[in-house]
């Protein structure tokens, strides 16, 4: 079966202050349609660079990237993205923040005026599924960090993208809120069935959410291990206290310690 996201032998070099920096070296990664993939690795291993490559914001120095069989040559014009920082537009109400992608992505863009009522209803509904029913008319700065991150998730999903790219979206939250949002993301993914690439430092997060965990080496980054997680779905937070779960986290931990040293 052809992979949905096909990163094939990708190398990325860029000019740094002191000579060329090789961020990625011959990285190969194949993510199936509907897969929840997590990418973990030591800091500075080029995980975020990978995000920018897949979404077409950066061109690889060598190798190819294809999404759904089509080679990526420029911005992919459809991927949802969310980062550690919620990046809200403070002058827009929550609902208008969520609607932002529909003002940009075709075909919604040209229908934005005529279908405004429909779109707003859809946004309200999406907000409700992440526990923010009735918050649409608030301003982002009236919301807590965790709530803003939920809005950010809604914004990345409102246009029903086939691919969701997440770059440490929960890293700035407290432990309880983070686990709450794992479940929010889990439910959204199971309901909508998009493909996810989640870049994270949190091994428990990766093990709880992902189907496959891709471990990257230190710079220059490439994939050194693929760990499949086959806990049955839907997963409950309980699973994170099981021994098998602990073993997986432990194994990943050892692997990363090892690649950090080499």
């Amino acid at each position: 079966m052809e992979a949905f996201v096909d990163i094939d032998g990708v190398t990325l070099k860029y000019r740094g202050a002191s000579g060329d920096i090789v961020a990625l070296q011959d990285a190969t990664l194949k993510v199936q349609r509907g897969e929840f993939a997590a990418v973990v690795g030591p800091s500075g291993c080029g995980k975020s660079t990978l995000m920018r490559l897949v979404t077409g914001l950066h061109k690889p120095t060598a190798g190819t990237i294809a999404i759904d069989g089509k080679q990526v040559t420029g911005p992919v014009k459809m991927a949802g993205m969310a980062f550690q920082n919620a990046n809200m537009l403070p002058w827009r109400k929550v609902i208008d923040n969520v609607l932002l992608p529909l003002e940009i992505v075709e075909p919604h863009r040209s229908q934005f005026r005529s279908k405004k009522v429909e779109f707003r209803a859809k946004a309200e509904q999406l907000l409700a599924t992440v526990g923010l029913a009735g918050f649409g008319d608030r301003y982002p700065w009236e919301l807590s960090g965790g709530m803003q991150q939920r809005v950010s998730l809604c914004r990345s999903l409102i246009h029903e993208p086939a691919l969701l790219m997440l770059d440490e979206p929960f890293a700035a939250l407290d432990a309880f809120t983070r686990e709450e949002l794992w479940c929010v993301l889990r439910d959204l993914w199971q309901r909508l069935g998009f493909t996810v690439i989640l870049v994270t430092h949190d091994l428990r997060e990766a093990a709880f959410l992902a189907d496959n965990i891709y471990v990257m080496s230190a710079r220059p980054g490439h994939i050194v291990q693929i760990k499949s997680v086959d806990f049955p779905r839907p997963r409950d937070l309980q699973v994170t206290y099981e021994k098998d779960f602990g073993d997986i986290v432990m194994e990943l931990r050892m692997k990363i310690a090892q690649v950090r040293q080499s």
Binding site: L57, M78, M81, F83, N87, P101, G145, M147, S156, M165
Partner: protein
């Protein structure tokens, strides 16, 4: 008195206090009136010749506002152009800094030569002196768009114009309105400098004329009126700023932000 009312009243209280101290100092230290006029003399002059002062104040006000309006229009366009690309930003910046460094008082004689004595050189001077902060602030607002937010939009297929319209310009608005407050006071400086050197009307003209005839009370009256116009217009633009960019003030205060 509760702290809120005190805060509201404090600008008035301070202004009155300064006038009182000034007046008292003139009396207590027996200051020669050719050195420093007490405010009471300035106010008396104002009332006595109120028609004259009203006329010249009006001229200065409208001349300044025309020059300022030109500066806003030109400043917005140039700010957007400069903020559009790094190459233009880097290319134009030294030129603008250089231009801004030239004291406008040095250009006024040229302007008078070109346009003749009257309102036009004053309008042009007010314009030249006040557009710079507007350009710089708009360009800064545009240039400091969060890169991650840009990534989010570009990954959705947004072009440069989309990013500018959806993020850059709204984001630059607080900078823009902030710059108006600086620009309006500068515009008054420009007008008065030009009026002092070559005009038939306006507070600057009046100051030069009365000063040359040693009618110092009238000079002080004109200076106070000028200050009053500056404060008034500043307050107007501060109010407009508050109204249009509430979010910028609130989001800074919010704990969640």
């Amino acid at each position: 008195m509760n702290p809120r009312t005190l805060e509201k009243l404090s600008p008035w209280l301070f202004t009155i206090a300064i006038f009182l101290i000034w007046e008292l100092a003139c009396i207590v230290f027996k200051i020669n009136t050719s050195v420093l006029q007490p405010p009471s003399a300035a106010f008396a002059a104002m009332f006595k010749l109120w028609r004259v002062f009203l006329y010249h104040s009006w001229v200065t006000l409208w001349v300044t506002m025309v020059g300022f309006a030109l500066a806003v229009g030109f400043g917005i366009i140039l700010g957007l152009v400069v903020g559009w690309s790094r190459a233009i930003y880097r290319g134009l910046y030294p030129v603008m800094i250089g231009f801004n460094t030239i004291p406008k008082v040095a250009i006024v004689p040229l302007l008078i030569l070109w346009f003749g004595i009257g309102e036009v050189p004053a309008i042009v001077t007010a314009f030249l002196i006040s557009f710079f902060p507007i350009v710089v602030n708009i360009a800064t607002g545009l240039a400091t768009t969060e890169p991650e937010l840009e990534d989010v939009l570009r990954a959705l297929g947004a072009g440069k114009l989309d990013i500018m319209l959806k993020v850059g310009i709204p984001r630059a608005l607080p900078y823009f309105f902030g710059s108006l407050k600086i620009a309006i006071t500068l515009a008054f400086v420009g007008t008065v400098v030009s009026e002092t050197l070559g005009a038939n009307a306006g507070l600057g003209y009046l100051i030069a004329l009365e000063g040359a005839s040693f009618r110092m009370a009238n000079v002080y009256a004109a200076l106070l009126l000028l200050a009053f116009e500056g404060v008034l217009m500043y307050a107007v633009f501060a109010g407009i700023e508050q109204h249009f960019t509430k979010w910028a003030f609130r989001s800074q205060m919010s704990a969640a932000g």
